[in-house]
């Protein structure tokens, strides 16, 4: 295992013929929650997909536990639980069935009590668990996807807009959950538009703009990252 759980080393990635990431470098330590902030098209999701080996770098490298994600795809993905933006899962299956299926894809098996515990942890109502997901709201679907990511028990979580669709109480619960995971040694890289949410949960925040990493904010040893400072940087630069 390398020194960092995740590292981008002068990473440049093209999507649709355009350079979506340009010479981006950052590291995420084990047990750290790192949030990438940025507007639409800033390259946030591209960064996550690069760590999953789904995109081939034009230059540089995305590394997972010190190994190139692109050259060691299977090994990299084994270490990662990924939560996509607006994960729909399968509408004709229940939450439990969806989770069982996706876990089996990863070669994992969890008993019903473990699945229920994870769903309990994300506060999905028990009555909804056996229902087909076609009846779920966006927030409920997101909770199931988060439960799936938890059940993967992977050391690294890549979260794409994880609080999208969640109500304020669920967002608070989620932030607590992320804090717990980090304390238990999990590494979290999340991308989001939500400046406030990122400051609540992240120990560091990277600001992406037009595919370039334009700033990194560190939390002070005794508190959280200053929301106003990040917001000013985010809004100011976006406006410039």
């Amino acid at each position: 295992m390398g020194e960092f759980a995740l590292s981008a080393d002068r990473l440049s990635v093209k999507r649709g013929g355009l350079l979506a990431l340009r010479d981006v470098s950052f590291e995420v330590r084990a047990g750290e929650v790192f949030a990438l902030l940025g507007g639409n098209g800033a390259g946030k999701s591209t960064t996550l997909l690069s760590f999953l080996g789904l995109l081939k770098p034009e230059a540089g490298e995305a590394r997972v536990l010190g190994q190139s994600a692109h050259d060691n795809v299977a090994a990299a993905r084994k270490q990662i639980a990924y939560l996509p933006e607006a994960a729909t899962l399968y509408p004709h299956l229940s939450a439990e069935e969806n989770i069982s299926y996706f876990l089996s894809l990863a070669g994992l098996r969890r008993d019903k009590s473990a699945i229920n515990a994870a769903l309990e942890r994300v506060a999905l109502q028990p009555a909804a668990r056996a229902q087909r997901m076609e009846r779920y709201s966006k927030g409920m679907r997101q909770k199931v996807a988060i439960a799936l990511a938890l059940l993967r028990e992977a050391p690294i979580l890549l979260l794409d807009e994880p609080t999208s669709g969640l109500d304020p109480i669920a967002i608070d619960d989620f932030n607590i959950l992320i804090g717990d995971l980090a304390r238990s040694g999990s590494t979290v890289l999340m991308v989001t538009h939500d400046v406030y949410g990122a400051c609540q949960v992240a120990s560091r925040i990277g600001l992406l703009r037009a595919g370039e990493l334009v700033g990194v904010f560190d939390a002070p040893a005794d508190g959280r990252i200053d929301t106003d400072a990040v917001h000013a940087a985010f809004a100011g630069r976006a406006a410039s």
Partner: protein, 421 residues
């Protein structure tokens, strides 16, 4: 997790999707229907043959009982010829829909009897029958396309693609597994009714295995094409349109172009012209000097030269001689008709290599003995049988043997062609 257990996992997962389950049930129903109609049709044909064999024998015995001379006996007695269906014909009816598989012939000129039904079954010639070969060669590719075209595009559209890949670890494993599970299940849905039909029909195991292999190879071809197209980063509707266009090209457009090209390149006389040529010669013979007819006959049968003199106004040997001369006059046309059919068939065999559906259909017909070659082989047995009847009759007429009704039991009997061996 083993490959087999992964296959079963994907299968049980996929079968819970209504569209997929619906398509597979449709495949099972279509295959069952085609096998059922095929078995019914072949049972009807076998029953018809059984009835006709009995009726033919009774009718001939009745005619012969009334006959008073050799010529009259030959004139009024008809002989059933037929091509019995093979043990695989239920799966590929082929030319049995278009070409006659039964003729009742007598000792008059043969060409008219063979080609009189040349334009039979125009409706079936247009559409064909929905048999198992049609389902496998034409509709099965469409089912493969419908099942596989949005294997990935559907997941991309639903926003699950990246999650699936990230969770499954290797992208190379999930899609082939899903495609294999779907194609294998489709193959079972198509073949299961065939296997039942083959058991009921007593089809040889080698043929069952050959058909099963053909079906699997054909499905694999379309699965490979659909899989390749489905891997493009395009919308499912775009992939589907492209694949259906390709299917249309291979199953309808190319075969139609090929057929027209072959028909233009290899011309064959019309069956009606053969009938007309033969009948004109037979009719004209009544008005011609008898020696003209007999000279033409003796040219083919020099062994009867010394007995070819016709002294009376009507003699059976003259009558049957001008029947044969009628056939001789149509011989060139008839030969070029058969050669043309064979040449077209050979050309179609080569052209089939650019259209897998046509290739599969033709191969199934070949295995079932229902193809053009089988139809021509049957026609050859009719010609041979007719020649044997003439060989039996001519000595009696030309040597003027006294009529002996008991000797009629020595008439040659038709031996049907067995295509199951």
């Amino acid at each position: 997790m083993t490959v087999v257990s992964s296959l079963f996992r994907e299968l049980s997962f996929l079968l819970r999707q209504r569209a997929i389950a619906g398509l597979l049930v449709l495949a099972l129903l279509l295959s069952s229907l085609s096998i059922s109609t095929g078995l019914t049709e072949i049972a009807h044909q076998r029953a018809a043959i059984e009835r006709m064999v009995l009726a033919d024998k009774a009718d001939r015995e009745n005619a012969m009982a009334k006959a008073e001379d050799w010529g009259g006996a030959a004139y009024s007695s008809f002989h059933l010829t037929y091509l019995p269906p093979s043990d695989l014909a239920f799966a590929a009816l082929g030319q049995r829909d278009l070409s006659p598989w039964k003729h009742r012939v007598n000792l008059l000129a043969l060409e008219g009897q063979i080609h009189a039904a040349d334009t039979a079954n125009p409706e079936l010639a247009l559409a064909g029958r929905i048999d198992f070969a049609f389902i496998v060669s034409v509709l099965a590719p469409l089912l493969v396309i419908l099942l596989l075209h949005d294997l990935r595009a559907g997941e991309r559209a639903a926003g699950r693609h990246d999650l699936l890949i990230a969770t499954a670890g290797r992208s190379g494993g999930l899609w082939p597994m899903r495609a294999s599970a779907l194609v294998a299940t489709l193959a079972v849905c198509l073949l299961l009714p065939f296997w039942v039909g083959a058991a009921l029909a007593g089809t040889q195991l080698a043929k069952v295995l050959a058909v099963s292999l053909l079906v699997c190879v054909h499905l694999l071809f379309w699965a490979a094409v659909s899989y390749w197209a489905g891997a493009r980063a395009a919308a499912g509707s775009v992939i589907l349109t492209g694949l259906v266009g390709f299917w249309l090209l291979l199953t309808a457009i190319l075969p139609a172009i090929t057929r027209v090209s072959i028909e233009r390149a290899i011309s064959i006389p019309a069956g009606g012209d053969i009938v007309l040529t033969q009948r004109e010669v037979v009719n004209d013979a009544w008005d011609l000097p008898k020696n003209v007819t007999m000279e033409a006959f003796v040219a083919r049968h020099p062994e009867w030269e010394n007995e070819a003199q016709i002294d009376r106004p009507f003699e059976w040997k003259w009558y049957y001689a001008f029947q044969q001369v009628g056939d001789q006059s149509a011989e060139t046309l008839s030969t070029s008709y058969r050669q043309g059919i064979l040449e077209r068939d050979r050309a179609a065999s080569l052209a089939a290599f650019v259209s897998p559906p046509v290739l599969i259909d033709r191969t199934l017909q070949g295995l079932a003995g229902t193809d053009t070659r089988a139809a021509l082989a049957y026609e050859t047995t009719v010609r041979d049988f007719h020649a044997r009847l003439r060989t039996w009759l001519y000595p009696k007429l030309f040597l003027e043997e006294p009529f002996d009704r008991a000797a009629l039991s020595d008439l040659p009997a038709y031996q049907p062609l067995v295509v199951d061996e």
